[in-house]
């Protein structure tokens, strides 16, 4: 089977997606990055290899997410794309009439505005992580509720508790205060969902015109409480696409295939599944060249230097073409 592979290495999850030649999703993997992107990526590739044996022919590979550069070196990508473009491409593939994409991931939240199938505006959270997946994770943990149940719990509430959502620190102390006052857990959670949505709309989506079709994607889209809060606040129907949590990877795969076709190249840069068996090593050192003391990261594959980055001046990274 000829497939394109999309890889999204994010702060919280590392996702792999296989698409067939008609861009149908064949397989998705959603793995926890857990601070070890290289190991997790290798593990994911191994899982795909084991599952499909030799029946798989990879024709294009794209990487995205904050670890896109790293992933690209490890697997040999044809294209390295930012998350905005990747998310938009994936959304349009499934819903061509999309005009607004709400995306909330582990540490980023973004809004993408589209018009006639092209991105015309976007925004990402700036200095604040309130309302992203990591914060919800932490609150679920604190309340002893599995994150999968968090949204359903919110839907049980009839009277939301008012929570200040502007800042994660204030939101947490507000929640503790309300819980000590005797508010029910489901009311607090529903209140939190509403607060986060308010914060998102006031902060990330400020001044943007939200028009239907509205797609909600990223890991947090699993949370039905947040989805409902969005619908109530916007007065619009919000669609959660089927593969909401791996849209970035889908976009990367689509873009990679397109890139191969447009550039007229016959072969992908993909190093093959056996890369998983290769011996990778990361060696870091601190450059003493100037007071910036940059930490230089070097990636070795089979004892050969594959990539190097982390320097401000380009002394190290430019001495080796990536």
């Amino acid at each position: 089977m000829r497939c394109s592979l999309g890889i999204d290495v994010g702060s919280v999850s590392t996702n792999l997606v296989l698409l067939d030649e008609k861009n149908n999703v064949i397989r998705t993997l959603y793995l926890s990055t857990a601070g070890r992107p290289i190991e997790v990526l290798m593990e994911g590739l191994k899982m795909l290899q084991d599952e499909f044996n030799d029946s798989l022919e990879i024709i294009a590979v794209g990487t995205t997410g904050s670890g896109r550069q790293l992933a690209s070196v490890l697997v040999g990508a044809d294209i390295i794309k930012n998350e905005i473009t990747a998310h938009a491409v994936a959304a349009l593939e499934e819903y061509p009439e999309t005009q607004t994409i709400l995306e909330i991931g582990g540490q980023d939240s973004k809004i993408i505005i589209l018009k006639n199938k092209i991105v015309v505006d976007f925004a990402m959270n700036t200095v604040c992580a309130a309302g992203t997946g990591s914060f919800l994770d932490r609150q679920a943990q604190r309340l002893g509720i599995p994150i999968e149940e968090f949204g359903k719990m919110a839907l049980k509430s009839s009277i939301p508790t008012r929570i200040a959502g502007r800042c994660a620190v204030f939101a947490e102390s507000d929640m503790i205060h309300k819980q000590q006052m005797g508010h029910k857990v489901e009311d607090i959670i529903w209140g939190l969902c509403q607060a986060l949505v308010r914060n998102y709309l006031a902060n990330v989506a400020k001044g943007k015109e939200i028009r239907p079709l509205v797609l909600f994607q990223g890991g947090v889209a699993a949370n039905s409480g947040i989805k409902k809060a969005f619908e109530e606040e916007l007065g619009l129907n919000v669609i959660v696409p089927k593969h909401y949590n791996v849209m970035g990877a889908i976009g990367a795969a689509i873009l990679a295939k397109k890139h191969i076709m447009q550039s007229g190249r016959k072969r992908t840069n993909f190093l093959g599944f056996n890369t998983t068996l290769r011996n990778y090593e990361v060696k870091a050192f601190e450059c003493k060249g100037c007071p910036n003391s940059c930490e230089i990261i070097q990636i070795y594959g089979n004892e050969r230097l594959m990539a190097r980055w982390g320097d401000k001046c380009g002394k190290w990274s430019s001495s080796l073409a990536v």
Partner: protein
């Protein structure tokens, strides 16, 4: 006496030239680095904005290198910058440094006072007004040349065939400008720099999108603070223009309002109807620049501001409306000591992607409607 001053882009070159022509010893602070910012963070109030912290770091590093006199610009609010010098003086005094701080307030009619201060700094017995004017002229020529150099570099970067060629030429040019001691040499130097940049090999197809950088002056001018945004965008294939160059800033701040260039007043007119009066810093200019850049056919605008910058936050709140009215995409990036480089790059890439794709579609549309 050994003079020092804070870094802001390449402003150290004309300043150094000015004081050295008057035979005053200058200690240029080491280039902004992680150490600079760590020092600044340690000793500055937490809620102060990024430029104040970097300045404090510059001063400490320069004082450690033997400087004893600090030249700092003043301001007249409502932006906090007007109070920088006072706060910084107290911080450094508390740390036990012995130094003299000279604050150059924007003259607005106090032109003689500025002259007087310059005379005190440069030892009035030895120098005449004529010497000062001569030194000022050389410094001014250098500042102009540096600005021209920045424009050249931003034009060349997206077109270079070999990544890094432009930066190499840029470094050489900076050194040449820094070394020049005579005003008579400037003309030839300008020619040499131009030839050097003309010689950079270019790619065949290249019609790069044009992006304007607007916002708070320090973050626009200091590459360390803005994570080298011009270089990053250039390497992504975009041609970058700044809304403000060093000479613009010197003009606005050193000349009395009657001598300010006419274009400046016309520019401010463009901030209407959104912001009709001075709101501190460059808030009003920021809004006006969006209108100007859109009119000049730019493909996108990026606003830079240090976290908590009041004038730019005011400007930011009207940018969505301005962006819509002039149909030009605007993105805001907030900078602070911890601005994560990966996230910053993602936003820049996405922005460049967006405007590239947009102009592709627009040019296609044009072809269709023409037929």
């Amino acid at each position: 006496m050994k003079i020092t001053f804070p870094h802001m882009g390449n402003i150290y070159i004309p300043l150094k030239s000015f004081f050295e022509s008057l035979e005053v010893e200058v200690v240029v602070p080491p280039p902004c680095s992680k150490k600079t910012i760590e020092l600044g963070l340690k000793y500055s109030p937490e809620f102060a904005c990024l430029p104040l912290k970097i300045n404090v770091g510059n001063f400490i590093e320069a004082l450690e290198n033997g400087a004893d006199t600090i030249i700092m610009a003043g301001g007249v609010g409502p932006c906090r910058f007007g109070y920088y010098a006072e706060v910084q003086r107290e911080i450094l005094k508390d740390l036990g440094y012995e130094f003299n701080m000279v604050v150059l307030e924007p003259p607005r009619g106090h032109f003689l006072e500025l002259f007087h201060k310059l005379l005190t700094i440069t030892n009035k017995r030895k120098h005449t007004y004529m010497d000062i004017i001569k030194a000022g002229k050389l410094a001014w020529e250098k500042a102009m040349l540096l600005d021209e150099l920045d424009v050249l570099a931003c034009k060349a970067r997206p077109r270079e065939a070999l990544t890094g060629q432009t930066d190499k030429c840029y470094r050489i040019a900076i050194e040449m400008i820094d070394r020049t001691k005579e005003i008579s040499g400037i003309k030839q130097l300008r020619q040499e720099i131009k030839i050097m940049f003309d010689d950079i090999k270019t790619r065949v197809e290249s019609n790069p999108p044009r992006i304007g950088i607007i916002g708070e002056i320090y973050t626009v001018l200091e590459p360390y603070a803005n994570l080298n945004i011009e270089k990053q965008l250039g390497e992504m294939g975009a041609e970058v223009y700044r809304s403000i160059y060093i000479t613009d800033w010197l003009r606005h701040n050193l000349l009395p309002s009657s001598l300010k260039p006419r274009e400046y007043k016309m520019l401010l007119e463009m901030s209407k109807p959104y912001i009709n009066c001075f709101i501190g810093g460059h808030g009003q200019e920021t809004v006006a620049q969006v209108a100007r850049l859109a009119r000049e056919g730019f493909n996108g605008v990026i606003q830079l501001l240090p976290f908590t910058c009041m004038p730019e936050i005011v400007a930011k709140s009207v940018l969505p409306s301005a962006s819509k009215k002039y149909s030009i995409p605007v993105m805001t990036l907030v900078l602070d000591e911890h601005a994560a480089e990966a996230g910053f790059r993602t936003r820049l890439e996405a922005f460049v992607d967006m405007i590239n794709h947009k102009s592709e579609v627009e040019s296609l549309d044009e072809v269709f409607t023409r037929n």
